[in-house]
Symmetry: C2
Subunit: 489 residues, 2 copies
């Protein structure tokens, strides 16, 4: 056994234990008896403590000093192990403990403050979180940019400056597109009653239509849709709203994108650092291209209109064109998670700018709500009416997730690039989608991106798949063209 | 922090990790995608390896040397920690590894041999298992009785001699009772069609009727019924046979007995060595008294007859007396797991005597089948027709479970003692059961036995609950009286 072998074997067990912790998380959100919550908290703490001890085990550092990669894949394994280990070791244990404690409290206070529309009840603990995250960022950055150091957790190798340049190019075009659309009459929405059981049957069908392997996964209901696991055990959750079938349909297709990425990673990487999606942004690109560029395309919605007619009878729109318009409605709203393709990125840019300012100490927590509301009015043309529709709507900051938000919009940018390349590679894509056949598209994504797992860095894997470095141009052209045609702009 | 505190905190985390491993086992048998089996094997190995390292951690030995119990409960905690630690440390690591490997192979060979009715294909690996178990027993016994040392794993503080004396007193009476019953005409069985969905609805109702707390548990289907977990997360599985509703009904009540024992342990003991049922035998006493002395009583079956009539319509028997007889049919058969109250213990005694002889080297593996078939003919009056109906029917020996079988019959003996005491304490028990109210009985078991968890040794907790040391007398009187009346002996 070489040092490399020892290190990989040790890491493999750590990853397997991490998968177990993830499986417990799934259990908690789907099947766990509600009376088990406190006990589960203690069980989770026990396995997290084992994981932390392994991730900071000095042997990992010793192995990394002498390990020699046997080949290029091995070099990529070492790169990933080193990146995570170096980062973990930079954070003082006391700070990590304090952050865990404070964010746990902060999450509870955030939920209570949101329910009570009482921002003052949340700001003191948010102030603590921000201070601790700045401390953590300073430890990680070692003199460099705090925020860039935070981005490394979610989108390795991407700087705030690059993201800002991309977002700055998108923002005026999105604001203009949004305004132009909202001056036009809104298309009709669906109407009718959609039994939950029928929706769950269609959920399973849709997941398989998009290439999800049910023999290596399962679908359950949960309050918030998510996908979890890797390799041969990747599970999806979804939810149903008996008045709004699109909620379930597009949550399912979105999570199927995440899940297929995990299922399609080369099984040679199973339970190794390369056996996962490479970053939050690339992950989101897969869920978004499944959901939007494929799932909300005119071609695919034509097939879906027929299937929903068979399943539910009259759904309140007369034909496939009206159905396509309903699936792509742009409507005013305060909430990020309910936003359409056009407005979603504006929500992200707002958060990105505010959280960068917080981390740079250019914005104080006490001024956050005013900054949020000013920016929202500027970009969306509406005054925020209450904190739950504004600065209190997302859990992220309460749990210390700074640097995470921009990856949602980066995912859209990457999806735009991949979609353009996919259209080049498959000239008859629409003919396939029009009969509910996504295999050409999902197969292309598997072959050109998903199978690599974390083998290549985020921007590199997009570049390899598309033949060019990612830019916002394809996404913006897609949005302006699609919604221009839909709304007759 | 004293050594006692450190030891308890460490043990608490180990137990929490053990609960996690148990939860993965539940997941595997109920909801895991079938394609995940190999990956799950690797994940389980990773957590088992963590558990093994903790169970053999030299710090446990150091703490045990100096720890002082703060009170009697603390003394019981130390007793349990010491018992498990001493036992674990007596087994050489190489032997433990070898046993794990060989039993894993043996289980596969057993399943194949049983399917092929080919005992010769199983005997060589069984020979290996027996040799390794004898080696393990010698390490554990340190000069004492091998088999007694093995019993310690399942029924601490109980000797083979005590068990043999009990069984020897029962065997002739059971053989005589069985023969007398089988000379009488068999009562009618149920007939009809029992939809699986209705059975699952009734399963949930029955579990709650017997005191199972659904807010701290759940019920799912699995191939083999089991209960798993402790404290506030205790889950049951059951199965349905659409021609035979009793299979599901009595599996459910049986597992509810196990599950209620775990749910009802004093929550002050949660995730500590005392926070579990104390032994296999005492555990089985709870499942058996729920299933048989309560669930198959004339009083309770009267209520159940009405409920099943409401749920299924005509079930093929005219009245509650005929239903009671159907629920207590004694019929010839080869298979332990399908045996009734009268014959079940005879199956166990056969295995107890044979496995003791194997461990004492008084019986060779090559002679095992003949010994089994001779004994079966003597006690059951029938010649075994094929290995799957004889020596190949149970998985236990292939996976190295020697010393486990007798706890099933000990459970029946303990259930007999508890039932007699319960009848003394609750003179109007039958009136309660006749209206489907088990709360008097299950409350008595909770207060007098279940809440103690592993606080008292097995025989001690039975003695405390009943006021006398356990003997076979109450069980035998119950069986002879009940079946004497049923069959007009």
């Amino acid at each position: 056994m070489t040092a490399y072998d020892d290190l990989l074997a040790f890491t493999r067990d750590t990853i397997a234990l991490g998968e177990i912790a993830g499986r417990l998380g799934w259990d908690q959100e789907t099947v766990m008896p509600r009376g088990a919550a406190d006990q589960r908290g203690e069980e989770m703490a026990a396995i997290e403590s084992v994981l932390h001890a392994r991730r900071t085990d000095p042997r990992v550092g010793e192995w990394l000093e002498v390990a020699e990669a046997p080949d290029e894949v091995g070099a990529a394994q070492l790169r990933e192990i080193r990146r995570v280990y170096d980062r973990t070791m930079k954070i003082p244990a006391a700070l990590a403990t304090k952050l865990a404690q404070v964010t746990s409290v902060a999450q509870g206070k955030w939920a209570a403050a949101r329910a009570a529309e009482d921002i003052a009840a949340f700001l003191p603990v948010l102030q603590e979180v921000v201070a601790l995250k700045r401390e953590e960022g300073a430890a990680l950055a070692a003199g460099g940019s705090l925020y860039d150091a935070m981005l490394e957790d979610y989108e390795p190798g991407t700087s705030a400056a690059e993201i800002a340049a991309t977002f700055d190019a998108m923002r005026p075009r999105l604001v203009a597109l949004r305004s132009a659309i909202l001056e036009k009459p809104a298309p009709a929405a669906l109407s009718g009653y959609y039994p939950a059981e029928t929706q769950m049957r269609m959920t399973r069908e849709l997941a398989e239509v998009f290439g999800y392997d049910m023999t290596r996964g399962r679908i359950d209901k949960a309050v918030h849709p998510f996908s979890s696991g890797s390799g041969n055990d990747v599970r999806i959750t979804t939810r149903t709203d008996e008045d709004d079938p699109f909620n379930c349909v597009y949550s399912t297709i979105h999570e199927t994108g995440h899940a297929c990425y995990e299922q399609n990673v080369d099984l040679a990487y199973l339970l190794t650092p390369l056996g996962r999606g490479v970053s939050m942004g690339v992950h989101e690109s897969q869920s978004r291209i499944f959901e939007n560029q494929l799932g909300r395309s005119r071609a695919f919605t034509g097939w879906l209109f027929d299937r929903m007619g068979e399943a539910y009878g009259d759904i309140g729109v007369p034909d496939a064109d009206a159905f396509y318009a309903a699936a792509n409605r742009v409507h005013p709203g305060f909430i990020r998670t309910e936003a359409d393709e056009v407005q979603y990125n504006l929500h992200i840019m707002l958060r990105f700018d505010l959280e960068r300012a917080l981390m740079a100490n250019d914005l104080q927590v006490g001024d956050l709500e005013a900054a949020w509301n000013d920016r929202f009015l500027a970009d969306f043309g509406t005054a925020v009416d209450k904190p739950s529709n504004g600065v209190l709507q997302d859990v992220h900051w309460s749990v210390g997730l700074f640097g995470y938000f921009p990856t949602y919009a980066l995912g859209n940018v990457y999806a735009g690039c991949l979609h353009a390349a996919l259209r080049q590679a498959l000239p008859d894509l629409d003919a396939q989608l029009a009969v509910g056949d996504t295999s050409g598209a999902t197969g292309w994504l598997k072959d050109n991106l998903q199978r690599h797992g974390a083998r290549y860095a985020p921007r590199e894997v997009i570049t390899r798949a598309t033949g060019a470095a990612p830019t916002e141009a394809p996404l913006m052209e897609y949005l302006e063209s699609k919604f221009g045609a839909l709304y007759g702009l």
